[in-house]
C-alpha cells in the first residue's frame, strides 16, 4: 500500500484520465491528487467544466469505461484500490462506507417510485440482513434516517413520490439516503446550491451537524466559494483537470496563492458593495487541445514564458502549514 495513504481515508494520487471520442482524445484529468482524512470536511472548488465531477465519478468508480480511460495514478479508499476493484466488487466498496449525495435533488429521485421503495433499494445494497424479513426492519431504519434529517412525518413521506416534495425536502431525502449505509465518507455534489439561500443555509447547517455527530468525512464538490468557506476545513482548488491550490480553508481564503484562486475569490460579489470585478477573461480550455505547461497560463494575468513550457509543481506557501499551490511565481519566490 502507498506510503501516502497511511492514516488517510481516501487518497487520490496523480490521477490522469482521458476520454476517447470521435474527435480525438480529451485529456481531462491531468494529475489530480487529493486526500481526505477520517472525520475531515474537504471541499473541491472550481468553475464548471474544470473536471470536478469527473474526479468525483472516478472516485466513486461510476465512470463508463470506455470512453473514460485512466492513464496514470491511483485511487485508494481504505483498503481498496478503486481502479482495480472489478465492477462487481464496487457495491462492496460503497457498502463499505462510501456514499454519494447527488447534485440536483429534483432529477436525482426517481419520479415513478415512492421514497420508501427507493430507500429500501439503497438498504438492499447497504445491508442485506435488513431487507430479508419482508422489509419490516428496513422500514424502521428508513423512518429513523428521515427523522435524522429533520423531516416531519417520515411515515407519510415513505409513501409519497418525489414530485410531492419541495426542493429542500428532496435534498434532505437524498442526504438521508446517503447516510443509510452508515458511511465513513460522504461525497456531496453541489449540496444545496440548487435551492434558495435560506433553505441552503438550513441544509448546510444540518449536514455539518450530522457530520460532526457521526464523525463522518465529507467531500463536497461545488463552485460556490461561500459554501466552501462556511462548511469545510480543507479546500482544493481545481482548474482544467489539475489541483492548483490546496490548504486549510481559512488560510486559502485569507491569502490565496495561485492566480486562479485569487481571481476566483475576486469574482465573488462583496457584501460591502463597491462593484464587482470583471471576472476571468477567456474560458476553460478545450481538453482536446489543452494548453501545454500550466493550463491556466493563457488566462493568467501574471503569466510569463516559463508557464507555457512545463507544468508547475505544488510548492508550499511560506505562511500557513499545508498550504501549497502549483504556480511558478511561488517557485521563483522560493528560490529568490
Amino acid at each position: 500500500m502507498d506510503r501516502r495513504h497511511v492514516g488517510m481515508l481516501l487518497t487520490v494520487c496523480d490521477l490522469h484520465l482521458e476520454f476517447v471520442g470521435f474527435d480525438g482524445i480529451a485529456k481531462v484529468l491531468d494529475g489530480v491528487s487529493l486526500r481526505v482524512k477520517a472525520g475531515e470536511k474537504v471541499g473541491l472548488v472550481g468553475e464548471s467544466g474544470c473536471g470536478k465531477t469527473v474526479t468525483m465519478k472516478s472516485i466513486l468508480g461510476i465512470l463508463a469505461s470506455p470512453p473514460a480511460r485512466v492513464t496514470r495514478g491511483s485511487i485508494l479508499y481504505k483498503e481498496w484500490d478503486i481502479l482495480k476493484v472489478r465492477k462487481r466488487g464496487l457495491p462492496r466498496v460503497h457498502g463499505g462506507g462510501m456514499s454519494y449525495v447527488p447534485q440536483d435533488p429534483m432529477s436525482s429521485l426517481n419520479p415513478v417510485f415512492t421514497i420508501g421503495t427507493q430507500m429500501r433499494d439503497v438498504l438492499k445494497y447497504a445491508d442485506a440482513k435488513l431487507t430479508g424479513r419482508r422489509g419490516k426492519r428496513s422500514r424502521l431504519v428508513a423512518v429513523e434516517a428521515l427523522a435524522r434529517v429533520q423531516l416531519a412525518d417520515p411515515e407519510r413521506l415513505l409513501k409519497s413520490y418525489a414530485f410531492q416534495l419541495s426542493g429542500g425536502m428532496q435534498q434532505r431525502v437524498l442526504i438521508a439516503m446517503g447516510l443509510l449505509s452508515h458511511p465513513e465518507l460522504v461525497i456531496a455534489d453541489e449540496p444545496g446550491t440548487a435551492l434558495d439561500v435560506t433553505i441552503q443555509a438550513q441544509i448546510l447547517e444540518m449536514l455539518d451537524a450530522l457530520v460532526q455527530e457521526e464523525g463522518l468525512a465529507l467531500l463536497i464538490i461545488t463552485h460556490n466559494l461561500g459554501v466552501v468557506n462556511t462548511l469545510v476545513d480543507w479546500v482544493y482548488t481545481m482548474y482544467a483537470g489539475s489541483i492548483v491550490e490546496e490548504g486549510p480553508t481559512a488560510g486559502v481564503f485569507a491569502g490565496p496563492a495561485h492566480p486562479y484562486t485569487k481571481a476566483l475569490i475576486a469574482c465573488v460579489p462583496k457584501l460591502a458593495g463597491g462593484g464587482i470585478g470583471r471576472g476571468i477573461p477567456g474560458r476553460v480550455p478545450s481538453y482536446f487541445a489543452a494548453p501545454s505547461g500550466c493550463r491556466f497560463g493563457p488566462r493568467c494575468v501574471c503569466a510569463f514564458d516559463t508557464c507555457g513550457l512545463r507544468k508547475p509543481e505544488m510548492t508550499g506557501v511560506r505562511e500557513g502549514p499545508g498550504h501549497s499551490a502549483a504556480c511558478f511565481l511561488l517557485e521563483q519566490d522560493r528560490t529568490a
Partner: protein, 355 residues
C-alpha cells in the same frame, strides 16, 4: 426625476385546473399587491426566494402576462394604452433577458438570423445594409466580434450566449430591460464580465434595469434600490445600502443572514442569524395575515390575523411588518410580547457599530 416605470397595486392570479368533482375555481395568487417605481437609467432589484412571484412581476411588466389587477404605467402612459395604440413600440421600449441563455436563443438559427427576426418583428432599421451594421454594432456593445454573427448558439459558451441575448435586448434602444436572473446560470468568473457590460450599457444608453434575482450579494453591488418579495407581496424596500445595513423585516434578516460569505469581515456585515421555520408555502394557499408569520421567528398573535400596514420610515425605507409598525408608534408600546422583538429590530444598529 420623473419615474420611468410605475407599478401600482399589481395583481396576477393564475387559474388552476380544478380536478374532477372538485367544486369551485382555485387560483394561484402569484402576485398579490406589488407597487414600485423605476427611474430612468437606474437599476432596481427585486429579490426573493423562488415562488415569491418576482419573475411573474417581470413578465407582467414586459407584457407577456396580462395583469389581473393594478396598473403599470411607462413614461406616464398605461401599458394597456401602449399596447392598444402602438404594440410594437411597447415591445421596443421594454425588453427582457431570460435566465438561461442556452434555452432562450433559437438553436436552429444563427445569431444573425436571430437578429433578423427581431428586426423584422419590431421594425428596426431600414434596408439590408443598415440592419447589418446595427447587428455588428450591437455585438460590439457586448464585446463580441463580427464573426459571431454567423455562428450557432451551440458553438458559444454560456457567457457568450448571454452576451448575445443582451445584445438582442439592446437592439431596439429600449428604455427598460427586465433582467430575469441574468447570471444565475453562469459561473462567477463569467458573471463579473456580464455585470460589467450591463453597467457600461446602462451608462452609455441610459437604460433602466429591473433586476430580478435571488443572489443578494450581487444585488448589493449592482442595484440602487431593492425590494424584497415574499409570496406575491413586497415586504421591504429601500436603498440597497440601507437595506443591507438596517434590514427591518424578519424575512429580509433571514435572507441576509443566510448568505454564504467568503470572509469573516463579511460575516460581520450580516445581521445575526435568523432561521425561518420550514419552507416557503405554496401560493395556492397563502397564510392569513402576514404571509411570513408561520415561518417567522418573532411572530406575534396579531401577525396571523391582520395584514400589516406598510410604513415609510423616511429616506425611502419602506417596510410591511407589525414589528416595525409597533416600534414606530410609541402609543401601542404596552404589548407584552414586544420587548423580545424590539431587540431584533435593534440588531442592525449593532452591525453598524462593527463597521
Amino acid at each position: 426625476m420623473a419615474d420611468l416605470l410605475v407599478v401600482a397595486n399589481l395583481q396576477k392570479q393564475f387559474r388552476v385546473a380544478s380536478g374532477f368533482g372538485r367544486a369551485g375555481k382555485r387560483y394561484v395568487k402569484a402576485v398579490e399587491d406589488v407597487s414600485f417605481a423605476v427611474q430612468k437609467g437606474e437599476t432596481y432589484a427585486l429579490v426573493g426566494e423562488s415562488g415569491s412571484g418576482k419573475t411573474t412581476v417581470g413578465y407582467l411588466v414586459q407584457g407577456i402576462y396580462r395583469a389581473t389587477g393594478g396598473e403599470i404605467t411607462f413614461k406616464g402612459i398605461s401599458i394597456s394604452d401602449w399596447q392598444r395604440s402602438k404594440g410594437r413600440e411597447w415591445s421596443r421600449q421594454v425588453q427582457l433577458v431570460f435566465q438561461n441563455p442556452g434555452s432562450s436563443l433559437n438553436p436552429a438559427r444563427t445569431i444573425r438570423q436571430s437578429f433578423a427576426v427581431l428586426q423584422k418583428a419590431q421594425n428596426i432599421g431600414h434596408g439590408r445594409r443598415e440592419r447589418e451594421t446595427q447587428c455588428v454594432r450591437a455585438l460590439e456593445n457586448v464585446e463580441l466580434s463580427e464573426k459571431y454573427l454567423y455562428s450557432y448558439p451551440h458553438s458559444l459558451s454560456g457567457g457568450e450566449k448571454q452576451r448575445v441575448a443582451i445584445a438582442l435586448a439592446c437592439l431596439s434602444a429600449p428604455g427598460l430591460i427586465v433582467l430575469d436572473e441574468p447570471t444565475s446560470a453562469l459561473d462567477v468568473s463569467v458573471q463579473g464580465k456580464i455585470i460589467w457590460l450591463l453597467t457600461n450599457l446602462q451608462q452609455d444608453l441610459g437604460i433602466a434595469y429591473l433586476f430580478i434575482t435571488h443572489d443578494l450579494s450581487l444585488v448589493r453591488n449592482v442595484a440602487g434600490r431593492t425590494s424584497v418579495m415574499y409570496l406575491g407581496r413586497i415586504v421591504e424596500s429601500a436603498e440597497t445600502g440601507d437595506l443591507f445595513q438596517h434590514p427591518l423585516h424578519p424575512y429580509t434578516q433571514a435572507l441576509l443572514s443566510s448568505i454564504p460569505v467568503i470572509s469573516d469581515a463579511e460575516k460581520d456585515l450580516l445581521p445575526a442569524r435568523v432561521t425561518p421555520h420550514g419552507e416557503i408555502p405554496s401560493p395556492t394557499d397563502i397564510p392569513s395575515g402576514c404571509a411570513f408569520h408561520p415561518r417567522c421567528p418573532s411572530a406575534m398573535p396579531v401577525c396571523g390575523e391582520t395584514l400589516p400596514q406598510g410604513i415609510d420610515l423616511g429616506s425611502g425605507h419602506w417596510v410591511c411588518c407589525h414589528l416595525a409598525t409597533a416600534s414606530a408608534e410609541p402609543a401601542s408600546d404596552g404589548e407584552g410580547g414586544n420587548d423580545g422583538q424590539k431587540s431584533d429590530v435593534d440588531q442592525p444598529g449593532r452591525v453598524e457599530r462593527i463597521q
